[in-house]
């Protein structure tokens, strides 16, 4: 910090440069952590997975608020996009290649979901320009608001089997085998139903009326 102040006296340009370097260093320090959380989550570590999603949500919220502002949209919609990407990160996590960096993978999903959002709300036909994946980690924002996603409405709209599976496994935290025993479904049927329920959650966000 003292170094930055010292440079500040020499001129604004150098100060910005230093700040950018500091940001880059921040990116480098956050990537290994996120990646090891992701890998642990892929091995089935729920706590690591939760921490990953929490950290990503903060970054994503900042990123989407900035993007929405750039396209002249209400930053309130950021929460919907954050949740849409979190669901995608979770349900598509098998598409992450463990030998690659994690941040560009998340950034690619976020950018894809944002251009999809622009297309369905017919704001713009122009593509979202590709930036460095660091655009994602440059922001963070932990101020949550309620999203448009209504869990009760979702649960009412899906098939009873799917509802039961989501209820047992995801809301009450029963293990898959316990849920299978209690509902009389096979374990693989429970897994399929849970997966289907999470997909329905994602479609619910994309199909809702724009506010």
């Amino acid at each position: 910090m003292a170094a930055i102040r010292k440079v500040h006296r020499r001129g604004r340009f150098k100060c910005n440069q230093l700040r950018r370097i500091a940001e880059l260093m921040d990116v480098r320090s956050i990537e290994p952590e996120l990646r090891s959380l992701m890998v642990a989550g892929l091995e089935g570590d729920a706590a690591a997975h939760k921490m990953l999603l929490e950290k990503l949500s903060v970054q994503l919220r900042g990123y989407f608020k900035a993007q929405l502002g750039r396209y002249g949209r209400d930053p309130v919609e950021a929460e919907d996009l954050v949740q849409e990407v979190l669901i995608a990160v979770h349900t598509r996590r098998h598409t992450y290649d463990r030998s690659q960096l994690l941040t560009p993978w998340v950034y690619a999903i976020a950018r894809y979901k944002f251009s999809d959002y622009l297309r369905r709300s017919k704001i713009s036909r122009t593509d979202v320009p590709i930036e460095d994946a660091e655009a994602l980690t440059a922001y963070n924002d932990s101020a949550q608001v309620e999203s448009n996603l209504d869990l009760d409405k979702l649960l009412a709209g899906i098939s009873p089997k799917t509802r039961q599976a989501i209820q047992y496994v995801k809301l009450e935290g029963l293990s898959v085998s316990e849920a299978a025993a209690r509902s009389g479904m096979s374990e693989s049927a429970v897994k399929v139903a849970v997966h289907r329920g999470l997909k329905a959650l994602a479609t619910m966000i994309t199909k809702k009326e724009p506010r």
Partner: protein, 211 residues
């Protein structure tokens, strides 16, 4: 819903993810699609009966070799495109180069020949033009199904390569019937029809692959 609640839901009972699932699904789609195309060829036009001698055998090997190389490169490309981030530009260049090489070889053979009609139209160009897209249909459906299990972000290119692989599988199946052993015929009909399949794939990719 608040994002905290969503993260709780997503990180309750996290299942471990096995690596290599996407590659297996894609390979399965290619193999089953190819087998279906081959059976369809046997059931409709049937395989060539005559025993192939020197140059005929060479042409048969060329048709199979070229389509097979397109299938293999296309498969490799799809294993990249099925994930966010990876674009596989180099492999797209390899495919374009291989098309160019076949086109040049066809043109050279055309210049050096007196009887152009037969080497362009062959004896069965109508059958060829109908069969290749027909045989490509099932592989295309299977490939789209496999790709939807992933998270492609460049939908146009992914659709195009799915079309290309399906077209190449259709062309390879047709090669077992095809009695026309001329380079210009190969370049125009095989090359053109595979390119047409790729074009159709690119056209429908964004609609079929959206997630």
């Amino acid at each position: 819903m608040r994002t905290d609640k969503l993260i709780d839901i997503l990180s309750t009972n996290v299942e471990p993810v096995k690596p290599g699932l996407l590659e297996k699904t894609l390979a399965w789609a290619v193999v089953v699609g190819g087998a279906t195309a081959f059976c369809l060829m046997l059931a409709t036009v049937g395989a060539r009966r005559e025993i192939l001698n020197g140059s005929e055998l060479g042409f048969f090997a060329l048709k199979i070799g070229w389509t097979l190389s397109l299938i293999l490169i296309g498969y490799l490309l799809l294993t990249k495109l099925i994930r966010p981030v990876q674009t596989g530009r180099k492999l797209v260049a390899v495919i374009s180069f291989s098309f160019l090489a076949v086109a040049v070889a066809g043109a050279v053979a055309l210049i050096g020949s007196a009887d152009r009609r037969i080497i362009i139209l062959g004896t069965q160009w109508v059958t060829c033009a109908l069969c290749i897209p027909l045989f490509a249909t099932v592989p295309f459906i299977l490939l789209i199904w496999a790709l939807r299990k992933g998270a492609p972000t460049n939908l146009k290119r992914t659709g195009a390569i799915a079309g290309l692989v399906a077209g190449a599988l259709g062309a390879m199946a047709y090669a077992f019937h095809c009695p026309d052993d001329f380079l210009p015929f190969l370049a125009i009909w095989y090359g053109g029809l595979i390119a047409l399949c790729a074009f159709i794939g690119a056209k429908f990719g964004p609609r079929l692959l959206r997630w």
